[in-house]
Symmetry: none
Subunit: 208 residues, 4 copies
Amino acid sequence: MRKKPKQKRSRQMVDALIEATAQTIIDKGLDAVTTHHIADAAGVSVGSLYQYFDGKEMLIEALMDKLANDIASLLVQLPMIEGGSLRHNVQSIIEFGFSVLHSRDGLFLELVSNWNNLPTDKVMDTLQQSFMDLSRLYFLKNYQQNPIEDLHVRVFIIVNSVLFNMVRFIGQNTALLTQQQVVSGMTDMVVGYLNADQDPHGAQVLTP
Amino acid sequence: MRKKPKQKRSRQMVDALIEATAQTIIDKGLDAVTTHHIADAAGVSVGSLYQYFDGKEMLIEALMDKLANDIASLLVQLPMIEGGSLRHNVQSIIEFGFSVLHSRDGLFLELVSNWNNLPTDKVMDTLQQSFMDLSRLYFLKNYQQNPIEDLHVRVFIIVNSVLFNMVRFIGQNTALLTQQQVVSGMTDMVVGYLNADQDPHGAQVLTP
Amino acid sequence: MRKKPKQKRSRQMVDALIEATAQTIIDKGLDAVTTHHIADAAGVSVGSLYQYFDGKEMLIEALMDKLANDIASLLVQLPMIEGGSLRHNVQSIIEFGFSVLHSRDGLFLELVSNWNNLPTDKVMDTLQQSFMDLSRLYFLKNYQQNPIEDLHVRVFIIVNSVLFNMVRFIGQNTALLTQQQVVSGMTDMVVGYLNADQDPHGAQVLTP
Amino acid sequence: MRKKPKQKRSRQMVDALIEATAQTIIDKGLDAVTTHHIADAAGVSVGSLYQYFDGKEMLIEALMDKLANDIASLLVQLPMIEGGSLRHNVQSIIEFGFSVLHSRDGLFLELVSNWNNLPTDKVMDTLQQSFMDLSRLYFLKNYQQNPIEDLHVRVFIIVNSVLFNMVRFIGQNTALLTQQQVVSGMTDMVVGYLNADQDPHGAQVLTP
DNA sequence: AATGAATGAGGTTTCATTCAT
DNA sequence: CATGAATGAAACCTCATTCAT
């Protein structure tokens, strides 16, 4: 960001531009956003855009920052049922995830779908971090046992798995799968994995 | 494809163009691919490119087709250890997956990373189909029992999970995770899920 | 034309190419003809096309030549009613003109519409010449009087007038005018003009 | 037009572009006009061109609009001699027509020659409309009689006839005809036609 | 003779970014 | 500060023509 908005008007403009970026992404898709579209949507001139942001990239980055914060706040408020089973809680979170991806007219969906072309991994990182905290808390509360050592690995894997499956499912237009099936399947997988013994090579009753 | 290559020279050209597309994707990334780059890399003129392909999209599609076939052939040859444990086989496949993603100077990595911008889902679809076949075969051989009903859901979820985790891991340059950890974690998760009772809430009694 | 077709096969090819040119003009419009279209339509290769013609221009020129001849032969056969009134004969010719413009799926219409971009004026010239002959003959037969001196001027003016009006009328899609009205109007005009005193400044009963 | 010019500078630019279009048509002919030529001629970049016009077509259309207006204003100022004979006035108009076609280095000539490839019929329509008004006025003033019913047909025919004859004559480089002859001939024809009884077969009694 | 593969100049259009007003 | 006019590199695609086979 070129200039720190110190005045009220400036902060409004910065916000308007970020919001306009979001709207433009929703309307035209990430690939089709142009600085002109954003400026138009924000009701300002391109010149002003460049006075506050170094370019398109920076704007998207700013948007991602904001969204990351939004998500983080949402996640900490996630109604985790105290006495609920792990399965129940996991399923709630996954369903929450779907609702987030559908929210804002698909803004998150579009962003996650294009995660690779985004200037930062902020959203992903935030998600991961939030879930990490969430999980740590959960296990601490409910198991009061020695913390799972490789929790960060599990969270990494779970977050990525759930996220990509949701995106792939939504993006897919075949009727071969229902959301109910996907939610249920992922819940099974995640719960199983979270419950799995830490020692990956320990007692394996599961081998054929 | 616009024209069917009737002469030997033209078949070579078609191949050269597809190969050049691959190389350009490797060199510059999918987004930076242009018809000129491809033509240059193939050592031919743009005009020639357009004699055989309707444009960039079609070239990428052709490349994907070819790669999908390549992968399919590789997968059927996957050394599935007959007497090996499910865990062992799953781990082998995941490791094989990593090696594929690293092969061809990251071509597959780049393509899977950008799956969303690709003209076809052929590679993903092929992967899913191949794994579906593979899994069906495996369970048939090793369990000779009633087939898993929701196998297609599980395969969908597993393929997506494993794929995206690999891509994310490779694309990530933090040293917080080792490939060994990710492989191991995913193996745990996948094996657990494959063994999970079909009735999502029942007990795990699937072992032979 | 590059080569004079001495062999039967060659003459067939030349004919096929000219005919293909006509068909392509009909199908795509004069502006959209390409050598490839023509060669395709003729069922030969571009290479062959260039063996017999110096390029697109020459092909169109050849087509025009052929059409000019066709028209000329048609015109000399025009059923001029011996005892018919001038008005009747003129109207017949105009109606004949309309039918020609509509013939061959609008080939003539397309050509006359684009007369300005054509390599030769052959068709126009032929038309003019044919009508000149026709008129001369008519006046000789029916009036046996001193020939109209400025006949070539009148024919020039009449041919152009009638031709362009027909083209404009056909190209127009408003329902403001009927073909019957245009034919009738042009007949009036032409007959009046042909009958007009030769001395343009002579007895003018017509002034207001 | 894409953008409405809000600043003074941009209005100048729009004008410069339209003027450059005219100049390019004069210099290279309608077919050879390219966006780059126009931009070069206007002394601006292609980008600027596209900020105000959707492309070549729109520019030509804008030019035609402007010319149509110019012509319309010229025509209403046409010095119609009050007491003059119809013949005299017709001849004046035709001569005026020739001078217009020769004006602006042949711009009109080029445009009318290519009427078929132009994006709009505006010029032709304007011409027709203007002459329609002119004629109606003339007959009203001078004959104060029942208006000629099929006036629109006559005007259509006359405008087309005169226009095309002028274009053809100018485009022709044979010395077989003099402009004087063509003017005179067309005048005869037009006057005769305008005076012709409405009943196409009756006697000519229209004179006052 | 016939083929059709190969060429590449030339046309259209877009868009991130700058800078005079 | 804010504006939006101006830029021009860079992408896409076509088609007349040549030439090796």
